[in-house]
Subunit: 384 residues, 2 copies
């Protein structure tokens, strides 16, 4: 396979934009990435769009990807929408990477976009015909159970959970594209915000968000034309699966397999990374996932966050963008936005939130309901 | 790129099965294909699932592909759902082909599945926020306009339209997996069936259908282990676009570009084909598309059908499976079911509907709303 370079990334501001149509979010992100790469729509040879919720109860009936991307001038090329729940954007990035790595195409675009506000329809958290769904276990309830298990098993505290939100809000304050207002919050603010599902409060949970993100991938050889700061795709690993042991809900073997595969392909290990963007849909999710991904020992996530090492300026910043918790989580856009953050960081263009000297980073998204139900997990590794 | 062989195909019976869940349709098709290839779920390395309508108003919220395929034992591998409207199944096949042709994987599965009956929600034909949508131009109205244009421009008659339905119903009678009851109909039956949108009647239109189909693709080298009748993928071309000339609604440049690209990659021309499965969602669609695909001269589609050459036993059978019109059109499944039909034909296993000595065939699906709106078109060429 050929080496692949990310030559351009783009992103809309994330936020609640009930008046802005999904097409606008998608085309703005795509145009932003083309501007960053210094190329136009005629240069893009294939595109993949990650999106979850466009469907029969929205304005879009079909060919969602074509409808969204034509506004960015992408008209004749192969365009395909991909869906893997919260990992839809990461999956679109993976397909684009494979399309270039294989030699099928030289330049590919991955776009992620989601429009969650200003629409009727079922809440995002509605679960299917599973046991969990019938019991009403939408994501907040599911993650609350995992938090309680983690607290009982490893001594994690509600204050440690809250520190994830405090840290990511501090990071988001430095990110002009983040959804939440640029202000700092305290552990007390998190604990005093409305209880959603014990022990998780409103501030322990990511906000409903609209937004788009895009990345342009290019063969290594051709990339020299477009960038002097190449960021290489080390790996984009996708795995699927169900829980093997339902009693051990704090451990996700999906994420373990995805990170193992990604590190193997990229030829580096966790010790070689300088930062990570992980799927912190709830504060407990960041803690569980940094463990599952092999970034810290099992059970140590809460204490690691409390140590301050995972905040900007610490040894290993986690979610310097603000993460899903504070930058926002427009589902299909999230995985591509993580890639954009890593690219800015690895190019040294992340301004006030720059991780100094960053040479390699990891992005992670998991999708699907993960308590006996199936899911997908994607781990992307980028390096200078 | 490596040569890729289809080593197994499978299909459920198509029909109206309001009581059968989509998971069952998907897993039955997948199992059928694995049985045909003589392998098990552990042998499949990557899978793509084409589906349009699973979404927020169905039981499935997310990770639709994983939820459907786990029942067939596909649990840990990379699984991705793709959507390109009526070309979703064809697009899944294309991704699976690229995954093997590139050398990323040796064995891939493409599944298409759709569940249209037994559910509430908006009708499939609801169009988005386009001018056509506001005017109520769902697919029957759109195709009726194209039929009238074709009749005025080329002298096509309502009897010629009806002959497409008569032919495809005769073919479907020979296909035990077809949705419509095994009986012959006459031109009068078609004209006397309820008018939907002049000149198109009920029998000029494909039925609402549930069903699943699957195909297993393998590198040429490894394929020797699984089959003595290799069917090669000559091409799987995907293009996107809008109408360039709205006045010329009977011509679709999307399909012209897709077939041109497919023939070029496959290294053969229309004269080398023995049969075709084309997207006959309405009788006029078969006529327009055999012209657009380059199978007959522009404007001659109606007269070609009337000549009898496109029926089984004729020089160039079109839709020997019964087509969308009579085999049925479970959206996401359609493109993969076309592949299954071609494989059976090219292996000489199509029984009563066998096209004698068939060596090469074409499958075509187009998706999206195609009157000023965007769409996708996929042309697949298979050969012995």
């Amino acid at each position: 396979m050929r080496s692949v370079v990310v030559i351009g990334v783009g992103m809309t501001k994330f936020g609640k934009f009930p008046e802005i149509p999904v097409e606008q979010l998608g085309r703005e992100a795509a145009r932003d990435a083309m501007k960053d790469a210094g190329l136009g729509p005629k240069d893009i040879q294939v595109a993949y769009l990650g999106n979850l919720t466009e469907g029969r109860d929205t304005g879009h009936n079909s060919c969602v990807a074509q409808e969204i991307l034509r506004g960015a001038g992408l008209l004749e090329i192969p365009i395909t929408r991909v869906e893997n729940a919260c990992a839809s954007g990461s999956s679109a990035f993976r397909e684009a990477w494979m399309a270039v790595a294989s030699g099928f195409y030289d330049i590919a675009m991955a776009v992620g976009v989601e429009k969650l506000t200003g629409r009727g329809g079922a809440p995002l958290g509605r679960v299917g015909d599973t046991i969990e769904g019938v019991a009403g276990l939408a994501p907040p309830g599911m993650w609350a159970m995992r938090a309680q298990k983690h607290m009982a098993q490893y001594g994690t505290t509600v204050e440690q959970l809250a520190m994830v939100a405090v840290k990511n809000r501090r990071h988001a304050k430095l990110n002009p594209r983040a959804a939440l207002a640029p202000k700092e919050i305290t552990i007390e603010d998190v604990r005093n915000s409305p209880m959603i599902a014990y022990p998780l409060t409103l501030f322990d949970s990511c906000p409903t968000t609209d937004g788009g993100a895009a990345a342009i991938l290019c063969s290594e050889e051709l990339a020299k034309r477009y960038t002097t700061k190449p960021v290489y795709v080390g790996a984009a690993a996708l795995v699927s699966g169900t829980y093997k042991n339902l009693r051990d809900i704090a451990v996700n073997e999906l994420e373990r397999r995805a990170s193992k595969e990604a590190f193997e392909r990229a030829g580096i290990g966790p010790q070689d990374l300088d930062l990570a963007e992980v799927h912190d849909c709830f504060t407990i999710a960041e803690i569980v996932r940094i463990e599952n991904l092999g970034l810290c020992p099992e059970g140590e996530g809460g204490r690691w966050v409390a140590s301050g090492e995972t905040q900007l300026g610490g040894k290993f910043p986690i979610n310097p963008s603000g993460g899903l918790l504070c930058k926002g989580h427009p589902v299909g856009a999230t995985g591509v936005a993580q890639v954009a953050e890593l690219v800015w960081q690895l190019r040294g263009e992340a301004r006030a939130r720059q991780v100094q000297g960053a040479k390699a980073g990891l992005a992670h998204c998991s999708g699907g309901f993960i308590g006996g139900d199936t899911g997908a997990s994607v781990v992307i590794i980028l390096k200078r």
